[in-house]
Symmetry: C2
Subunit: 302 residues, 2 copies
C-alpha cells in the first residue's frame, strides 16, 4: 500500500477510539458539553427518521419516529454525560436508532444538568416528563425506559421515585453502560483504567462532586442506584462493554437486581467501550447491541 | 371447592418445590443417585425424541434427536449432581429438550462420579468424549457445549483443558445454574439459604470433599473455574435462578468472563430454583429458558 494508507479510517471500535482520541475531553463544563455534542453527533441521524421538539411539562423533549414504528408505544430515553453534559443532540442518533430497533416512538428528555442544577433537579425533570407522557394517554405498560451511563442512573432512580409515589412504572428498563455507584467503589475502576478511553476515576469524582456535592450522601440509593431496593422493578436489560471502568457498576447491578427477583439480562460485549451504541452509524457492535435491546423491549412492551 | 382441593398440584415453580419436598435428599451416595434419577426424570422424555446409547471412547454417552433437528450440529451436555450424582437418565428430559430448542443433535455424557472417581476422573472422561465426538467428523465450530451445576463446572474445565492442549474448543457455552466456586465463598450461599430448596452449604461441603478431597487445592481453576483465565473462551450464556444459593457463582462468573473479553450473556430468572430447566415438562419458565438457550446456541453454531 502506498503512503497515506495509515490515515484511512480503521474499522470498528478502533476507529471510534481514534475519533475520540482526536477530540479529547476539555476542561470546563461548557466546553465539555460542546465536545460531547460533537463526538456523540459526529454521524447524523438517519434520513428516514422524523422528529419534533416537545415541551414535557416544562422539560425539553424530542419525539422521534422511524418508518413502521408504533406511535402508541414509547421508548423514553435519558442521555448520559455524567449528569453534567450530554443532550438530546449528543444522543440523537442513539435514541432514534434504538426506537427503530424497538419499533416504537421515542421521547428523549433534555433534563437539567449539574453543576448549575445538582441533585435532585434531574429527578424532578424525569418525573415531570414521565407524568407528561402518561398524560398523553400512554399506558405505563406501553412505555420502555432507557438510558446510558448517568441516564441509566436516572432511569433507575425514576423507577424508585414512581414506586415511592405509588405510581405505575415502565414495562421494562434498558440500561447501556450504567453508572450506578457514585461512591466509586467498583473494582474495574482500577482494573480497566488503562483500557477505557473515556471514563477514569478523577473525572467521575469531578462529576459526582458537581451532581451530588457534600453534604449529600452518595450511598443514598437515589444517588447510587446500585444500593437501591429493587423489589418490584420491571424486567431489565443491562449492556456493558468489556473495556469499561464501569464494568463492575453493571455486573454488580445485575447481581443486586437479580437477587431481588427482577428478571435481569446482562450482556457484556467484548472490546466495547463506554456507551458504544452511540456510534452505531459506523460500529456494527453498536447496531447489534441496539437490535438486541429492541428485541428485549418488544418482549415486554405489549 | 370440596375437600382435597389443597392436594391438587399447584402451577409452576411451587409445584416443583412441592414435588422436591416430597422426595427429600437422602444420606448415602447410592441413595442420592437413585433419588436424583427419580426427581430429574419424574416426567418422561417426549414421545417424538429418538435416542440411542453410544460408547464415547470408553465413556457412556447417549445421542438424541428431535424432529427437524440438524444431526451435523451437536449439543454436548454434561449433567449436574455435584460430581457425585446425576446421570444420563436424570437429565434426559433436560438434554433432549435443549437439543430440540437448539435444533441440533445432543450427546449426553455419563462421566464417572465421585467419591469412587474423584477429580480429575470426570475431566478425563470429558476430554475422551470430546475427542470421540470430533473423531466422528464434527467440527469444533459445530459443537455447543452445555451443562448444569457441576456439569457447567465440567464444561468450563473442558474448555480450559482443550486450550491447554492446543485443541480447538466449542463454538459456545451454555451454563445453567453453574457451580463454579468449590471454595464456597459466594455471598448468596448465606443470603439465599432460606429460599433455596435444594442446595445448602453443608451439602456442597460434602460434595467438594468427595470430588476434590484434601490435599487438592480448591482454588485450582480446574476445580473452581471461577478463578480460571478465560482468555479465548467462546461466547457464553449463563442462566441462573434468583432463588439459588449458587446465584453468586453465576454472577461472579459472568463478571470474570466478561472482564476477559468473552461475549457473556447472564440471565437471572425470578423465583427459579437450582437447575429449573430440568422440569421443563411442567414448568413454563423451564421451557422458556431452554428456548432462550436454543436461540443463543443457534446464533453461534453455524
Amino acid at each position: 500500500m502506498g503512503n497515506g494508507s495509515r490515515t484511512v479510517a480503521k474499522d470498528g471500535i478502533d476507529a471510534i477510539r481514534a475519533m475520540l482520541a482526536a477530540k479529547p475531553r476539555p476542561v470546563g463544563w461548557a466546553e465539555r458539553r460542546v465536545r460531547l455534542d460533537e463526538v456523540g453527533a459526529v454521524w447524523p441521524v438517519a434520513d428516514d427518521i422524523s422528529g419534533e421538539p416537545v415541551d414535557c411539562g416544562g422539560v425539553p423533549g424530542e419525539w422521534s419516529l422511524a418508518p413502521g414504528a408504533e406511535p402508541s408505544r414509547v421508548l423514553m430515553f435519558f442521555h448520559g454525560g455524567g449528569y453534567c453534559a450530554g443532550s438530546i443532540v449528543s444522543h440523537r442518533r442513539l435514541a432514534t436508532e434504538a426506537g427503530r430497533a424497538a419499533r416504537m416512538r421515542t421521547l428523549a428528555i433534555g433534563y437539567h444538568l449539574a453543576p448549575e442544577h445538582p441533585y435532585p433537579a434531574a429527578h424532578e425533570d424525569a418525573l415531570a416528563a414521565w407524568r407528561f407522557l402518561r398524560g398523553q394517554g400512554i399506558a405505563a405498560g406501553a412505555i420502555a425506559l432507557g438510558g446510558d451511563s448517568a441516564g441509566a442512573n436516572l432511569a433507575l432512580a425514576l423507577v424508585s421515585r414512581l414506586r415511592a409515589a405509588g405510581e405505575e412504572g415502565p414495562a421494562c428498563l434498558w440500561l447501556a453502560s450504567p453508572w450506578t455507584d457514585l461512591t466509586l467503589s467498583g473494582s474495574t475502576l482500577t482494573t480497566k483504567d488503562a483500557d477505557d478511553p473515556l471514563i477514569h476515576k478523577p473525572y467521575l469524582e469531578e462529576l459526582a462532586d458537581a451532581y451530588a456535592p457534600a453534604p449529600l450522601d452518595r450511598t443514598d440509593p437515589l444517588i447510587s442506584p446500585l444500593f437501591a431496593d429493587f423489589s418490584g422493578f420491571p424486567p431489565t436489560l443491562i449492556q456493558v462493554g468489556s473495556a469499561e471502568t464501569l464494568l463492575a457498576d453493571a455486573t454488580r447491578l445485575a447481581a443486586a437486581m437479580g437477587a431481588a427477583e427482577v428478571a435481569v439480562t446482562l450482556e457484556i460485549w467484548p472490546r466495547m467501550i463506554h456507551a458504544w451504541p452511540l456510534w452505531n452509524a459506523r460500529l456494527e457492535e453498536g447496531r447489534k447491541a441496539l437490535e438486541r435491546a429492541g428485541e428485549f423491549v418488544r418482549d415486554w412492551v405489549r
